[in-house]
Symmetry: C2
Subunit: 144 residues, 2 copies
DNA sequence: AGCATAAACGATAAAAGTTATCGTTTGAGA
DNA sequence: TCTCAAACGATAACTTTTATCGTTTATGCT
């Protein structure tokens, strides 16, 4: 069973043209075993137990690599510096995955339906925030 | 017309029990005039043209104050450090506004949105990311 | 298996974003 | 006008992320 896991990781690397290093492999397996939505520091703390000499920079570099390769994803497009919303009207956002531009869009234009105020686990909903993630018109034209 | 604006800002301050300082007032008016979703640094650059001696710390402190008072909002709950998603199944998130915990929820349990792949302005949608923002069961019990 | 080379690694400095500290200034109520 | 808590500016400190660079390692080719 570790054999199968190893083979599948090797295939992932082969597909994406990246080398199979010891650090990379342990990182991949540790991350796969983690629940929730850890930060790079949390991943670093975990993987350090198995590879004590690993560098935080290596963790960051490989998390980026995994995300670029589609092996894992980012929880949100909105990490980094805080952004302020001055538009008091309830609305949602279109987020361009190329240029990261955030554009307002009303609920009606979005075609949004069905709003539950209670969700499984007893979660009480105050509001919904929807991101339509894709490519803006300007980035579709320019082939960058 | 500047008189009316001033009065409304004074009322906002009165309602929230905060002092009407010169910096605060200019900051409020500059921010209200800004489109999009600026970062604190962008706000700072703008307000500095009108109050050159203002400190970046003052900008940060007042942005927080405005957000806490509900005058303005944050674009997203997900600023700060990047979080990695290892759950490959398509899903959305419940985000607790008290403890900030992020919990997975499937599309079916959520009640979901309509799926338009084209949005106004020629935006091409790749996927939707929905945050149900509210209070988790644990934070409902504890009255903190 | 041995070799060459590009990629990856670890250590750490630097950059970016944010918060804390502290002495000085100012707004609000008496 | 006077008093004092609140707010301000300057800047140090902290957090998160990226860049740099010398060393090590994986890979493809004999
Ligand atoms: Mn908006
Ligand atoms: Mn998730
Ligand atoms: Zn774009
Ligand atoms: Zn909570």
């Amino acid at each position: 069973m570790p054999v199968k896991e190893t083979r599948s990781f090797r295939e992932v690397c082969r597909e994406n043209g990246i080398a199979v290093t010891h650090q990379r492999q342990v990182l991949y397996e540790v991350m796969k075993s983690m629940d929730g939505h850890p930060s790079p520091e949390e991943v670093y703390a975990r993987v350090k137990k198995k590879v004590p000499a690993i560098s935080l920079a290596t963790v960051y570099k490989n998390i980026h690599l995994f995300i670029e390769s589609g092996v894992f994803q980012k929880v949100s497009m909105h990490h980094g510096s805080v952004r302020v919303e001055m538009n008091g009207e309830p609305h949602h956002h279109m987020v361009c995955s190329k240029c990261r531009k955030i554009t307002d869009i009303g609920e009606k234009e979005l075609g949004l339906v069905a709003k539950r105020s209670r969700l499984p686990g007893g979660f009480l909903v105050e509001r919904y925030a929807v991101d339509a993630i894709g490519v803006c018109a300007s980035c579709q034209k320019s082939s960058c």
